[in-house]
Structures are given as C-alpha cells and as structure tokens.
Point group: D2
Amino acid sequence: MVHEEIELKGHVIDSLTLSKVLDAIIQSGGTYEIREFRIGKTRAEPSYARLWVSVEDRASLDRLLKELGHYGARELPARDADLRPTPAAGVAPDDFAVSTNLPTEIRLKGRWVPLVPEEMDRAIVVSRDLGSARPVPLYLLRKGDLVACGRRGIRVAPLRQPGGEAPRDPFVFMSASASAERPARHAIRTLADAMKAARRRKGKSLFVAGPAIVHSGGSEILAALIRAGWVSVLFAGNALATHDIENSLYGTSLGMCLADGARAPHGHAHHLRAINAIRKAGSIAEAVKRRIVKSGIMHALVTKRVPFVLAGSIRDDGPLPDVIADVRLAQEAMRAHLAGVEVAVMVATALHAVATGNLLSARVYTVAVDIDAARVTELIDRGTAQAVGIVMDAASFLAALARSLGIRAGS
Amino acid sequence: MVHEEIELKGHVIDSLTLSKVLDAIIQSGGTYEIREFRIGKTRAEPSYARLWVSVEDRASLDRLLKELGHYGARELPARDADLRPTPAAGVAPDDFAVSTNLPTEIRLKGRWVPLVPEEMDRAIVVSRDLGSARPVPLYLLRKGDLVACGRRGIRVAPLRQPGGEAPRDPFVFMSASASAERPARHAIRTLADAMKAARRRKGKSLFVAGPAIVHSGGSEILAALIRAGWVSVLFAGNALATHDIENSLYGTSLGMCLADGARAPHGHAHHLRAINAIRKAGSIAEAVKRRIVKSGIMHALVTKRVPFVLAGSIRDDGPLPDVIADVRLAQEAMRAHLAGVEVAVMVATALHAVATGNLLSARVYTVAVDIDAARVTELIDRGTAQAVGIVMDAASFLAALARSLGIRAGS
Amino acid sequence: MVHEEIELKGHVIDSLTLSKVLDAIIQSGGTYEIREFRIGKTRAEPSYARLWVSVEDRASLDRLLKELGHYGARELPARDADLRPTPAAGVAPDDFAVSTNLPTEIRLKGRWVPLVPEEMDRAIVVSRDLGSARPVPLYLLRKGDLVACGRRGIRVAPLRQPGGEAPRDPFVFMSASASAERPARHAIRTLADAMKAARRRKGKSLFVAGPAIVHSGGSEILAALIRAGWVSVLFAGNALATHDIENSLYGTSLGMCLADGARAPHGHAHHLRAINAIRKAGSIAEAVKRRIVKSGIMHALVTKRVPFVLAGSIRDDGPLPDVIADVRLAQEAMRAHLAGVEVAVMVATALHAVATGNLLSARVYTVAVDIDAARVTELIDRGTAQAVGIVMDAASFLAALARSLGIRAGS
Amino acid sequence: MVHEEIELKGHVIDSLTLSKVLDAIIQSGGTYEIREFRIGKTRAEPSYARLWVSVEDRASLDRLLKELGHYGARELPARDADLRPTPAAGVAPDDFAVSTNLPTEIRLKGRWVPLVPEEMDRAIVVSRDLGSARPVPLYLLRKGDLVACGRRGIRVAPLRQPGGEAPRDPFVFMSASASAERPARHAIRTLADAMKAARRRKGKSLFVAGPAIVHSGGSEILAALIRAGWVSVLFAGNALATHDIENSLYGTSLGMCLADGARAPHGHAHHLRAINAIRKAGSIAEAVKRRIVKSGIMHALVTKRVPFVLAGSIRDDGPLPDVIADVRLAQEAMRAHLAGVEVAVMVATALHAVATGNLLSARVYTVAVDIDAARVTELIDRGTAQAVGIVMDAASFLAALARSLGIRAGS
C-alpha cells in the first residue's frame, strides 16, 4: 500500500466535489480517512477537507492523484508540475495536461502560477523562465515548447454555479439545463444588471449573434443596443451580416419580407445581391461610408466603431469580404478580443456559441439564448457549464433586454 | 367500362385539388377527359373543371367517387345522400360518412343542406324532416338516428390557405409548418387585425391557454387582454387555473418565484395549497368574490364575466372544483361556446389545442403559438390545417399581441 | 434566540442535501454549529450530521424546521406529527403536509410509521388507530379524516440518483436531463436487466404507451414484448388503442399506410371506422374474441390477459368503449394496478407519462423515452426526478429493448 | 399596355407553378388570357400552358418576366440570355441571374445550353464560345467572366416532389416537412432501394455525417456500411473524425464510455489525446497504416480507400491534420466529389448538411436524418427542398438502413 495526504478547498460540498473525490478513491480500489473537515459558516466561505488516501501501488496512486487534481485536490506537500518539450511543431507530449476553463494554477519552482487566460482544451505551455503559463491550441505548439504533463502541480478551482461570477446568484438551486417552463424575465434583468456592473468597471460585454436575430425581426433592437454602447465586441458569421445587410437593402431576410411576412418576388436572390454589393464596395465599412448600407446591425457596429469578427463556415455563400475564411485565423481573431470580457451574450447561434464558449473563461457571466432548449444544453455539455440558458426567440429576448437596459426600441 | 361526369369548383389549382383528383383517377385504373376547364381570372375567383371519368366497373367507380367526394368533386347530375339508421345507440352504420371541418353540404330531397356546425371526425346526422344536418360524436348517437353514408350527395369545399378566413392572406406562399426562422411580428399584427374585425362584427375571440403562460410570466398580460375585452371565452385545464391562482396567492408558479426566478422554499406544495384554498371556498368565482384571489387570469375572467371551460385530464392534482372531470362533458361544454367564434388563439398547449381544433370549423381564423414548432406541426397534422403557427414563448407572444391591440401591460 | 438540535442521515453530500440545509439556515437569518459529522466510508454507506441551529424566534424556527423537514432533517428529540381533521369533504386543513414520492415516515404515538404507498402531492391521512398513513388526493378526502399538518414528525429519505433503485447506477455522474448526444444502448441494456430482475422477484413492469408507437411502426414489437410476458400492465389513452386497432384493421395509422408510407385514400376516417367497429362489438376484448381484431398491441394484451387502463382525454374521438371518460376514475384505475410495480417504461407520451409519474414511488426504476428531449425534461421537472431519459423514436427503442430481452421481432 | 406570350411546361399543376405564375401576373397589376392548356393524361406526362400576358409598361413587363422565369415560364419567341462581363474579380454584374439547384437551361446563340452542374446561389458564367454554362461562387469570379444577367433566355424546370428522382415516389401527398409521427421504416427501405439502383448504374452514394453518429453508438454500423461498399464518399468535420478515433482509441465519445454509458475518469481530455496521436502520426491514413487506429469509421474509409472531406469549423479543437481549415477550399474539395452522386444521406448534422445541400442538384435523391425535426425543416427551407426528412436518432437509423441493405451489424 502507498499513501498520500491530499487537501481540498472551496465550495467542495455544493459543487459535489467532495462526493466525486471520495467516489474516485473508492473506485480506484483505495480507502480514505477524513483527517480534517471544516464546512464554511456562510455560503461565501469556502470549506476545507484533508484526507489520507491509501491505494495498492504507486501507479494506481499516480492515476488517482491525476484524476483528483481535476477536482482541485492537491497532494501535501505540493510538488512542481512536470514539464516536457513538444516532440514536434503542432504535437504535444503524450501525457500533456489538458486545460479547462476554470481558474487554474501551475506549480513552477515552488510557486503557484496562474494559467492566463483560462481557456479549455488546450495544452499548457510554460514560459522559459518558468514565470508564466498560457493555454495553446495543438496546431500552434512550436517545437521545443515546454508543456505541463501529468497531474502533479496543477490545481483547478471548482466554480459553484451557472452564469459565471454574477453579481447575485438566483439560479443556485435551479439545474443549469434550459427549459421553456422557467421564467426568463428575471434572468434577463440579472443579465442587464451584470452588463451595467461590467460597464461601470470598464469591462466588456461580448455578443455572439446568429442570423435568426434578423429573421425574427430583431435587427433594429440589436442595432439600438449597439448605438447605446452596450455591445463591446460582436462575433458572428457570414449569415448574420448578410441577412442584416439584405434587410437593410431590400427589407427582406432569407427572401421574406420582414415588414409583412410575405415572400418577396424572387427574394431568394436578395442575399446574394447584398453580398455582391458589399464585395463591389470592398468591405462593409466602405459600404457604410458610401451610404450603400444605411441601417441595421453592421451599420451600427461600423458607425459606433465597435469591433466585430465574422468567422467563415462551409455553408457560406459569397462570402462577404470581411469574412475570415480560415477557421484557425478566425479563432485567433476572436481570441484577440477576449481580454476584459466580463459578460457574454449568445443569441440564436449553435456554431458560434460553442466556438466562443471554447475560448471563454468560466468566470465570464455567460447567457445563452435559443428558441430550442436542446441547443443550450449542447453548449453546456460541451464545457461551457457556466452558461445560464434562456429559451426565447431572438427578437423577444433582445426587446426584453433593451427594456431592462432602459432603451426604447421598436419591437 | 362505366362512366360518370364530375365537376370541381373552387380553388382547385392552388389547393392542389385538381392534381389529387387526377391522381386518384389514374390510381384507380381509370382514365379521364377534361371536358371543360376555366381558371379564375383573379385569385378570389374560383376555378371550374368538368371531367368525364371512365373506370372498369361499378364497384370501382363507387369507390373512386367516394374518394373524389372528399376533394369536393361531385357527380353530374347530383344524387341525394344515402341515409341509414344507426344499428344501436353509440354506433354508426358501417359505411357512415366522416365529417371534416370544411364547409360541407348534404343533398337531401334535391336540396343542398349545409352541415352546421362544421366539425371534423363526426357522423353526419340528418333531421327527421330532412331539412338539416349536424355532426354528432359516436358516443352521442341515439338508436335510429339517420346517418349519411357512402359518398353520394355530400360535397366539401376546399379552403385555400392557413389561418382561416383572414382579412388578408400573407401566408399564401408559405408552408403551413411552423418555424422559428419566420418573422412573427407580422403574423401577430394580422391576428390583432382579425380580432379587431371580429369585434366590430360582434364575433368572438376564443383563447385556449396552457400553463406555460404562467410559468413564462405572461399571466398579467393575458389578464390585461381579458380586462380590455379581447377574450370572449377561454378554454384551459386544471394546470393553467391552478398555477395562475398559485401565482396570485404566493407569487410562484410550479414553486418558482416569478419575480426573481428563485425556487421558493417548499414551493412545490404551493399549487396544492392554492387548490385547497379554492376547494374550501367552493369555486373560483366564490374565491374571487371573497377576495381570496385578487389578481391574475382567473380573477380577470370572473370579474369581467368572461365564460371559461376547465377540462380535466389524468395528470390533474386536486382538482379545482370548477374542473369538469368527465372529458366527454368537458367536450360538450366547450362545444356549447363555439357559436360565433371567428378567431381562435391557442397559446402553449398541446392537449387543449388539439381538442379545440377537433371542434372548430376550418373557417375560424386560427393561430397556434408554441415555443416548440413540433407541437404546432402536430396540431396541423391532426386536421387543424388552417392554423397559422407562431414559434415564440407564451409571455413574449402575449406582450406583442397586447402592443398590437394598443394595450399597455408590463412584460 | 431559540435553538434546536437536528440530525440528517443518508446520502446528504452527494444529494446536495447538506448544502441546502445549511443554506436554508443562513437564509432564515440563523446560525449553525456542526456538532457531529461522519461521511460514509463507501458509496453505499450513509453519512450523518448533527447540527445545533439558532434563530431569532419561535415562529422563524418553526418555519425553518418545516422547510428542513423536506430535506430529511428532523429535530432531536423527535415529536409526533400534528394531526388535524379535515374541515369538509374534499378539503384539507390549511396547513396540511404535502406528500412526495420519496420514502416517508410519519411519527405517530412515538413510532415512525411509513407512508404507503409513496405518492406525491397528496394529503397524508392517518388511520384512526394511528397505526398507518396513506396519501389521499384532495377530492377523495372525507369529512373528519385525520390529516398530518405542519412539518413535525414527518421525515423524508432523499434518494440519490435517477432511475429509481436500479441494480447498478451508471448515471451517477450524468445529469438527469435527457439529451440525444448520450448513448442510449447501455441505458436500454440496464433497463432490460432491471426488467429481468423484477420478473425473477415476481415484480411488475408497467408500460405507459403513446400513439407514436403505432405511427412509428412499433406496434408489432410491443405486441411481441407483451406476448413474451414482459409487460405486466399497460396504461394508455384512446389514441394508442385506436391507432393500434386501425393498423390491425386497415394497415394504417392516422390514415398513413405503415407498410409503404403512402397516405391511404380517404385514410383519415380509418380511425373512426375502427372505433365504430369496436363500439359495435361492445369492447376490445369482445372484438378480439369475435376475431374482428387479430393482431397488434390490444390483441396481445387481451389474449395474454394483461390488464390495461385506457384513460380518457378531451381530444378523444369516439371514444372506444373501454376508455374511462372520468379522469378521476381513470386515475383510480391506474393507482389500483401500481402495487408491485418495480419498473416503469414510458414511451412517447407526455400526458400519460406525467400522470403516471404523479402516482409512482421514486423507488420505481423509471425510464422515459421520447424523440423530444424537452418532454423528458418536463417529466423530471414535474417531480418524477428518478426517471432516466432516453431520446429515441418509439419503434427504434422498442426494437432495441426487444433485442436486449432476447426477443426476435421484425423492426 | 405591353404584351408578351409565355409558355409553361412540366408538372405545373402539382408543383403549384401555374398558381404562382397567375398570382404573380395579378400582383404586378397585369392581366392574362389562357390561350392553351393541356393537362398530362398520366402523372408522368407533363402539362402545358400558353398565356397572353398584358401589363402597364415595358419596365413592369421585364420585372414580371424575370420573376416568371424562375417558375420555368419563358416568353415566345425565346430570346438569348443577356451576358455581361464582371466588373472586377470576385464581383458579379449588378443584375446577375442567381442559379438554383433545379435543371436549368441558358439560351445562347439560339440554342438551349444546360447549366452543368446544377448548384444553387451562384452566378452563371458562360464559356467564351457560348457553348457551355456553369455556376460559379462570387469569390471565384474572374475579371471579365461573361455572366448571364436579367431573366431572358434562362429557363428552369420545376421538380415535383421531395427525395429527388427517386425510383418511386411514395411521398407525393406528404408534406416535405419532417415529423416524428410518420413511419420511417418505409422511407429507409426506399432509400436502400435508391442506393441499390445507384450502385447498379455505377452512381455514387454520398454520406454527410455528424458526430452524434458516434455519441449515439452508431460508429460500427457506419463502418460496416463503408466496408460493404455502400458509401462512395463521406463529408464530415473535425468532430465526427475526432470522436470516432477517440472511440477507437479509448472506447469513449465526448468522454462518455459508449459500452456502459458511464463518464470515463478524466474522459473529457480523450478527444484531445486522440487528435494529438493523429497529429503525431501525420495523418489519419498514416495512423491507420501504423495500426494506431484499428477500428471505426475513419479506419473503414482508409482501408476501403473511400475518399472523404473533413471541413474545418471555428468550433474545432486541434484540429486533425486532415481537416481543411479554409472553408472555401473545403467547399471546393466537396464540390470535386459530387460528379456522379445520385444519392445523398445526411445524418445528424446541421452545418454540413446545409453546406452540402448548397452544392447538390435537386435531382439527387436526398435523405436528411435528425432526431430534431426542426433541423430537417431548416435544411428544406434553405433550398434543399428535395430532401426527404426522417426523424430518428443516428444509430437507430443506420442500424435500420444496414438491415434494409442486408448487412448484419451489431446495434
């Protein structure tokens, strides 16, 4: 038998962490003794547990400690992280540690160094001077990069609740899964409060926007939010921008007239004519400048100088000249805008929501809105567990958010 | 070979009726000759076709004519409907004609007599004097009732488009199936126009309401619509009334606090305490009178003297004393309120929407609202083909409808 | 300040019970001291906590203890339950305790008496001799019945995981919410094992069946399961039985030919002709006996003498003579078959699944199958939290279940 | 008033084309006279209509004729298409004709030249010798390319029914929209027949595959279909290939153990380790060759030498070295495999299904399978109107298809 003493800190009871740790020990064939256990006196106060763990042999213990590390457990005394160089560009060492979107620290030369930024599913690359650590996608690894491996010297702090670090936490007893049967109005007011708080702190609010915003008639409301300064940066694809511009040029979206719901004669070609008009102008900004595009979401972004990233996808027509066709470059463009983001609002998009979720820290207050609860569940299951789900159509959500922010916009 | 001349009238092209008729003839092994064909010069003008049909033998011809009758074809010269007495109470003759919700006429003693009211999936019972015809559910057939059988002497007028007889018909080129990708605002404005037109003509607007109206925070908006006189009659179940009263008494719905989204301590029992309070009072009206219930949908109905039917279901708790536990009696209570209904609005209910659709004429302007497009498709597939589908959450829909009707209600 | 010592037993950590209890104390303005805390050494072993609770005044303490009682906490020393007579037939005392579907005990004359059966959302009626307690729906309360009130002397044992008391518990780390992205095959094999284990113990397997079983082509597979003895009792509505008989008589379901997917000429009337044929025979059993119905689900039930309950709903056509039109009588008929049920399988039905869930103990191993994950979530949110969700179409599920049970059935 | 004589040919009644043409004339303020009208004597026989159209002025007439051209109407006598050069690379002339996926002909020097291949939403570029025409995405237009403009000299043949040119057409009376309430078994058998017929003619069957195939446990069935020669080419993304290889290496998908449904310890990192292993090998083919990957879909493709395209998306982790990160290059790689495709089967993918639908001729027999009917509706609404929808989970569908093709595969 081999032994190790481990400790756990934080919201280990209400995040179920303690249960999972004890479970993992039992399942590995080991036993445990609880040497110390203190429960926080208030909800804000963390709990603490110290356990003496015994398992069959060294290999089992290593496997177990590796697993426990992902629940935030760390052995006492702590040891430095194992570092190994990449064998080739774009390839991690076999046993590389995979990052999560939770607050994470790496022990280097006896010091706990934070992973900055927090981003899931990356290799953890450590600087040459062992002074900092950052997450790197596999394809960006350079030959010889020092990568954290195994589980020693890596600790992760469990977060307690959906929604990221909200000002208040109304959903603490609600399951994170989305449902149309739960009242959305309060969640929208809480989001509005979070956006206001972020603005006071000079933090950013990111919007991730799908084309159903335009189809459902929400363009002008989102444009009003942008003009009022509530959107710090916007991520979308070719479709959102195209249908917004189609709407601005022809009053249609997907060929359907938004004013009266009728299908416009020959309307299915409108989106291509809209794209062609922008291609002719050279860029969306140029088309706004030349007064080809005079309203809508993209117009508001350009005139308000709010940055946006349009990421390409294989279903794109055209595409618009502003679309980044290489998805890796698009990911990098998105990543470049994330510093300072405190609130993320994902509206009516599956692809872009998951893509953005992959890049976000779990500390970001994240709200995902879709008419289809299954899409919100998918996002949460993909690791963006902090997301608060709202089941509404895009236009109704944006109208309610605008009202909560004190903006008057036609709906 | 046997022959028959048939004629078709109405929107036989844009309802695909002509295609189906020709198809049916070919599939029965027959041939046809188009003797006369006039296409309406305008969309409002009906078309007309006269066909000479030839098939193998009399039996095939009868089968074919029976089928064609359901597309509105009738043979020339017309013959009276076959009438046969029921063999026993609650049992129709074997070959009984099944009614639809479309305008239908029965030929009796050389006269075309309308089926009144129009109601689908019933036997057609003819009065003793052969002067009138009405649809009767099987279980209400009395021994000896005269029932129309076969297909002779029965003609059905195809309707052209979803939504019933709307003032305008914006959806003519849209598929009837619901989708979250279509703009709802126009459909809501069209509904508001239909409700206004109905009111001018002293016609009724029926609301069919599911409990998600309360869960999503829409109670007060629906109550405002009722107080403003836009609801002529309301159909619902135990759940809608219970959660509305729960909300009025405790501020919760399904135990969730509607004001702040939190789960109320011990809130799951609230709906039962609400039911018990009404049972103690004796009825909802009495509880309103005694000021036990002071707000919400049921309060508005009672104080505004708008009739309602609460139909029982096997998932009911309690139930409230006003709930009709026998579903056949509940159907009859609903049917008793349908005369004069011109507009039907079905919000967030599957069971009650289909049940009401089963009782409605296809001429009623019908709008079905659900967050789940599949539920609207199910309604349409069940025969309520006139329904216009809107994919929205209940509270957002009601708020938008209230705005279109010029009502200011908190949302 | 007033004080009370309380204790908690069971899976208080992995069910989050301890967290909720501490939270409730803090929220009530109180404080606590953990006097004793033992965590179970294995997953099967329960944990134990003893807390000293202090709050402002007696009324707050009473409110708090009432809430804590629902988490299974009980004060030390325990006191008998408060009993009060009903003020009138069908009406509970104001402060009546609402039952849950979890294992529950009532303290009467110093003894903990179990609630039998376990059924949620009922009043708890105690026998005159204080020797037994049973759940009673409000409408069945008789004048003078002794009803448990408040929270004293009532304790509830939290269950840990979805699925009821399964032989094994594969889902312990999975969220209970259903998703199409989780592998169903294992859940089906686990269900098959549970059904086999129940059969060995002479326990019953209940099937709750929706009409989509017939529409999706699963009738013959369910009939094969019945003939092989895997179905002990079946709950359904008019639609399942009607479309099954329609399929047996005409080869169609909702008028669509199941063999080749084509819409049968005039097929929409088939279900009414099927109902009329059974009405003429007098009952389904009589129609089977006279060889009018020769195949399908209902035929298998009748020939195999498996009991069934057909509960009425307001959307019913006909209805079949076997349908119980009064929903309260239907509930009672269902309840009468629940003794001995160890496994419940709910396939493609929203209404009947929730209705049955309302009657089931949380100990019953419950599986809910639907093509729409939202319906399973709704069932779980309604209190049937033990249900394991499987997102599949009905026919595919039944075929996979039949294979797991070693039955060869055409699919 | 100006006049023009136009003619219409084909299934103009059952495709509603005639109705739409007459409607368009009325809406443009014009009138018409039906000069000749012949309805096909059988369903296979086309109909013919000749109309004399009168409108206010030349400009209105041009607009109208342009619209009518999209319904297949052409003026008599026919005139050549208007051709104009592109003003710049990547930009079409303002009035460029937008292609559809229907059979289309361009009139050049008095000859009707077919558009090859049929692909929607492109510019139509004509060869210098005016002998051929092809669809070109905007971004691939070269400066000076000759592009068809306006509506003259372009005719489109309406197709009649969903499913493309099926051997038989069972769905003629069914709406194209998908529903879980329709029997899928027949549609699967029809698909199997279409695949067999395609194979006899040396035609190709294309599969478009989403990762839910792996999650739902369908990998081995799809691999068996590939090994049996039923898959000619496969389109997918990084996720399908990654989770298939994750499953092959670790027995998990998204970290969930497919054999027993349990979440594997630390399983969320499995997919990244799988990607890293392939990156180390250099390619999927190399990993198969080195026996790193020994089973699953990708293994079957490589060993059977079936070509595949993995298109990148912004949500990709890793990615696998075989993934094409530039979405325009990915589109072109997909397009290069479409010649000879007669059957397209899209399973559990929204993004790739719409992307492939954008490239396919409407003549391709297309089946779209998803557990969520809304996704199939979205595909159809995006222009892939020929798609037959099947609402099933991926694994159940593949198992049923394999059985219909006579393949025995574990399910």
